[in-house]
Amino acid sequence: MATDGTIRIENVTHHYRPPKGRPVHALDSVSLEVKNQEFVALLGPSGCGKSTLLYLIGGFMPIESGTIRVGGKPVTEPGPDRGVVFQHFALFPWKTVLGNVLYGLEHLRVPKDEARERAQRFIDMVHLTGFEDSYPSQLSGGMKQRAAIARTLAVDPDILLMDEPFGALDAQTRGIMQEELLSIWQGTRKTVVFVTHDVREAVYLAERVVMMTARPGRIMESVDTRFDEGGPGVMDRPDFVEKSSYIWNRIKGEAMAAVTAKAS
């Protein structure tokens, strides 16, 4: 498989068209480059089009104007080079955990025994050993999200697109999942685009936080959020706190704008 997970977004403008009512200007000439193996968080007020941008990278919607290239090739449709993790897991409810993880491997035509082995490895990695034959409805939120992550990682995509993946989880599970994601990322070094509206989460997880404006979404500013040492302890350090509050202040204005725009 290709190993170049560079994403180049140039001048992308997009309108969201609800089945009824006027089209909404969601993205306005967005340009952004995400380097191979980089972990970028997209941060912005709700409705700023950050998820839309992620879906466009995923190839789930046609691009109206501008271009998105992944590994040098223009995006036209979804593909296994870009794995996705959604907020509400999007597991196939009629398949077991194992069935879900095997799904992508079946499409890659991985021989049965090997697929089974590989699926098991990823199930073990996300600590779901023993739940292979459980259906998603039998799992907790955190376990569902782990299964979804295992399913995505099993096909070994160059890029991970994550749409508020921990937004539906309780605070404690969320903290654990963040640690697990970081260790997975350090182990596999995939390009990650992580959409969130949680400032601390963005600053903690990502190497770079890209802030977006309220609708129509534009890139507002890009902030380097690498710290010398990792681990959850970093969140108490002054440089972490300082960066977080800087980003929070930048975002706050946009969040206010989004709220007042909704009210009017």
């Binding site: 995923g58 979804p78 296994p80 794995g83 959604f86 999007a90 196939f92 409810p93 399913r151 096909v155």
Partner: protein, 252 residues
């Protein structure tokens, strides 16, 4: 455990027993004339007479054959049409007015047409049942397929599935709960149409027996046949529910 479940089944169906007792009592005491309602016990003996010479079962079997054929055809065409409608705008635009037009129409109104076109044999009943069962299945399959969340389709696509594979591997199973609910409705409709069409156009079958015994005034046997239809419908529905629970085991 075993004992208590038998007991609870007994309690659940005790209203039926009560109804049978009231039926018997009402006729025996003369509250309801025996001329229009045979006592429950005589209905049972009538049933036994029909059952022991095998006539009841051969008639019921030929009825069942018609219902199953019509329903099976409706399942094949109905689910296909419903899912394709959800999948493709052109197909939807084409079929939608036809469906809206025929949906509220009572299909029994077509019985004379069926006689005209297909005669008195099996075909007329099978086609009628097919038509009656078709639309509920089309509509439920369409709604089921329409309601499949985008994120499921997107997940499948980004795991390497093609658009066509998504149809079979994602949309069909995701729509299955609604498809099966539609089929269950159709199953009930198939019995209604079966019996009413056999009243009018048939030379055998359980509906034909009901109207035949009615015309001859053999009411105990007529009621025996009616009860048989009730039982058939009940068990068919029960069996289908069991099947549904099996298929949808993943739902909690």
């Amino acid at each position: 455990m075993q004992g208590s479940s038998i007991l609870s089944t007994f309690y659940r169906y005790s209203p039926l027993l009560l109804l049978a007792l009231m039926w018997e009592a009402a006729v025996r005491t003369g509250v309801i004339s025996e001329l229009i309602l045979p006592p429950f016990s005589e209905t049972l003996t009538g049933w036994w007479a029909l059952a022991s010479d095998g006539a009841l079962f051969t008639q019921a079997a030929s009825s069942l054959k018609r219902a199953v054929s019509g329903l099976a055809l409706a399942i094949v065409f109905g689910t296909t049409a419903g899912i394709l409608m959800a999948w493709n705008v052109k197909i939807r635009t084409f079929l939608n007015p036809l469906i809206q037009m025929f949906y509220p129409m009572p299909k029994s109104a077509l019985i004379p047409v069926m006689i005209l076109w297909f005669g008195l044999g099996d075909m007329s009943k099978v086609v009628l049942i097919f038509l009656g069962c078709l639309l509920p299945i089309v509509v439920s399959s369409f709604n089921g397929a329409r309601g499949v969340e985008d994120v499921l389709i997107w997940s499948a696509r980004s795991l390497g599935a093609s658009r066509r594979q998504v149809l079979w591997q994602i949309i069909v199973p995701a729509a299955m709960p609604e498809i099966l609910t539609g089929i269950r409705t159709a199953l009930a409709i198939s019995f209604v149409l079966l019996v009413s069409s056999e009243f009018v156009i048939a030379r055998d079958g359980i509906g034909f027996m009901i109207s035949g015994f009615g015309d001859e005034g053999v009411y105990d046997r007529m009621f025996a046949c009616i009860m048989t239809v009730v039982a058939m419908g009940f068990f068919a529905d029960r069996l289908f529910q069991l099947f549904m629970r099996r298929v949808l085991i993943w739902r909690e």
